[in-house]
């Protein structure tokens, strides 16, 4: 009688409808467990999740607070697992019925990212189409960019003054688009230096970028028929520490007094240190980066600044490479498409109940 009474007082309803399934749209290694909360959820301290590999021996694999009804468990792909969920209060634990066996696996396609796949296919397709177009020899128009016309003047000024040109590609790595664009521009600057016999100083932050830059500069000197003018010591590695690199380049600016500083590539907080030091020496400064947070410093401290995508366009404009020109054209059409999507999407969002925002979740 007493036992029955106590059982009635301390009884706790277990979680029900426990359901375990392979986590959808993932790379495998996870099972999701969901349940309906205990009818006594308000008195539950936590829910504990137990797992078994044979349906007999269960081990605790996770816990979650009251009011929560799902959890994800890390698993080995292809292995069968069984789960139970227990509602736990101070003194009582109430187990649910076990789930059916479940095994995790990797999915080929993450359906939640289909919008990204569509975007990549559309923009990638446009770029590839224009690259093909350019390769067939069709002329692709890219408008003039102000900073580029200063390159000739800048190199000419350095030649007249008998001073070197400093080309700083920033602290990016070879996979950064800004660094790649910077290397294209470096090639053209090196050609001009070769033609005018102007000294080039090209210090580097990353050893791989340095390796590529050295080859580019050497090739540029060869292209203009001045392989003898190439100085292997003009392109060199400094350090891969951001501010040590900034300190070293500052020292070069002050001691070598270049007539022109190119600060073109991928920059972070050292941008203002470099641009201010360069400005204090009276050098012409041409800057360019796609780092939005650093552009204000270049705009204020440099004579010409290639803003964001202008840097990529400049690299295409100056090199006339079909690959780059095609990419710029493709990106331009991408911008047109984005503009159209914004206008049409806004009209739909304003005047209909169609859930246009969901397509961009």
């Amino acid at each position: 009688m007493i036992c029955t009474l106590l059982a009635g007082i301390f009884a706790l309803a277990p979680p029900t409808a426990v359901h375990a399934y392979d986590t959808p749209d993932d790379g495998g290694g996870a099972v999701k467990i969901e349940w309906q909360l205990s009818a006594d959820d308000m008195t539950v301290d936590k829910y504990e999740v137990y797992r078994s590999e044979n349906g007999v021996d269960y081990k605790k694999v996770g816990l979650i607070g009251r009011g929560r009804n799902q959890i994800e468990d890390e698993t080995e792909d292809g292995k069968d697992y069984y789960y139970k969920v227990a509602a736990v209060s101070d003194t009582v634990t109430a187990f649910s019925a076990p789930t059916a066996s479940v095994a995790s696996s990797a999915q080929w396609l993450n359906r939640r990212k289909i919008n990204i796949i569509i975007a990549v296919l559309v923009f990638g397709g446009l770029i590839l189409a224009f690259i093909q177009h350019a390769r067939r020899g069709r002329k692709l128009f890219v408008r003039k960019i102000a900073g580029l016309h200063a390159i000739d003047d800048a190199v000419g000024r350095a030649t007249e003054m008998g001073k070197p040109i400093l080309y700083c590609p920033g602290i990016g790595y070879i996979e950064d688009i800004a660094t790649i664009a910077s290397l294209n521009i470096l090639g053209e600057v090196a050609k001009k230096c070769g033609e005018y016999d102007t000294k080039l100083i090209n210090p580097h932050f990353d050893p791989i970028v340095y390796t590529v830059a050295r080859e580019i500069v050497k090739e540029s000197y060869t292209d203009v028929g001045r392989p003898d003018a190439f100085d292997p010591d003009s392109v060199y590695y400094v350090t891969d520490s951001q501010f040590a690199y900034a300190a070293a380049v500052d020292g070069i600016m002050i001691r070598e007094l270049p007539a022109t500083n190119f600060l073109v590539g991928w920059f972070r907080a050292e941008s203002l240190i470099l641009a201010e030091t360069g400005a204090s020496t009276g050098a012409i400064q041409i800057a360019g980066t796609d780092q939005v947070s650093q552009l204000p410093f270049f705009v204020t401290a440099c004579d010409y600044t290639l803003i964001g995508e202008e840097l990529y366009a400049a690299s295409a404009y100056i090199s006339r490479e079909p690959l780059l020109l095609g990419a710029i054209k493709g990106e331009d059409w991408g911008k047109v498409i984005i503009g159209v999507i914004l206008v049409v999407g806004s009209l739909i969002g304003l005047f209909t109940l169609f859930p246009v925002m969901q397509f961009f979740d």
Binding site: R143, Y173, E175, A247, A248, I254, L272, L295, I307, I328
Partner: protein, 213 residues
């Protein structure tokens, strides 16, 4: 005043002053600090990459644990060294190409989501976006300004036509938006840099000179 007796604090403080001395002009103290900084950074980088990258992710699995699959990244990595052998120096393009391809491929979905898909979603003129400003009826105004700013800025970065006519007008409005953004970013970053300066001055006045707590 309670000047520090810790030699490391003294070294750190003197290095800070030596670097600050550049604000006056180039001088031997700055040169010493600059060269020490570059040398220490390079020494640190070599040991860091050896102990934190090469040993745990390549040499240990390959040579100590015998995981032969790691021979592939080992060979690809060694190709970087072919740069020193002129006859086969072209092989250096293989690891560079692989690393570029990998990083670009990995970044495209993330960039597309963060910089294109989500930005488009946030720019739409919809009731949800109006409310997202938490500005009552002004949310409509802010959303319209944002919408115009995005369209005009996009037009500024359109390179396939000269900026004349309507495109000229929209691109001029676009660059105004860009410059306003730069102005805000400039002020914000200068503020952050001043806090860095305050941090260094506090270090000099506190742990070194003991003037402030």
């Amino acid at each position: 005043m309670n000047i520090s007796t810790d030699p490391w604090v003294w070294i750190s403080a003197l290095c800070t002053i030596a670097i600050f001395s550049f604000l006056w002009r180039d001088n031997p103290f700055y040169k010493i600090a600059e060269h020490v900084f570059v040398g220490v950074a390079n020494g640190w980088a070599v040991t860091f990459y050896w102990h934190n990258v090469l040993m745990p992710t390549l040499f240990d699995p390959l040579f100590r644990q015998g995981q032969l699959l790691f021979i592939i990244p080992f060979i690809i990595g060694m190709l970087y060294l072919t740069r020193f052998i002129p006859r086969v120096s072209w092989l250096v393009r293989i690891p560079i190409g692989i690393s570029m391809g990998y990083y670009v491929g990995a970044s495209i979905p993330a960039v597309s989501q963060a910089l294109i898909i989500k930005q488009i979603q946030g720019t739409f003129l919809t009731p949800q976006n109006f409310q997202a400003w938490h500005a009552g009826n002004l949310g409509v105004v802010w959303s319209i300004i944002l919408f115009i700013g995005v369209i005009c800025t996009l037009s500024y970065f359109y390179f396939s036509r000269e900026h004349k006519g309507i495109l000229g007008t929209t691109s001029r409005i676009g660059i105004v938006f860009v410059m306003i953004g730069f102005g805000a970013a400039f002020g914000y970053t200068v503020m952050a840099r001043i806090s860095l300066l305050i941090g260094r001055i506090q270090y000099l006045l506190g742990p070194w000179l003991g003037i402030v707590d």
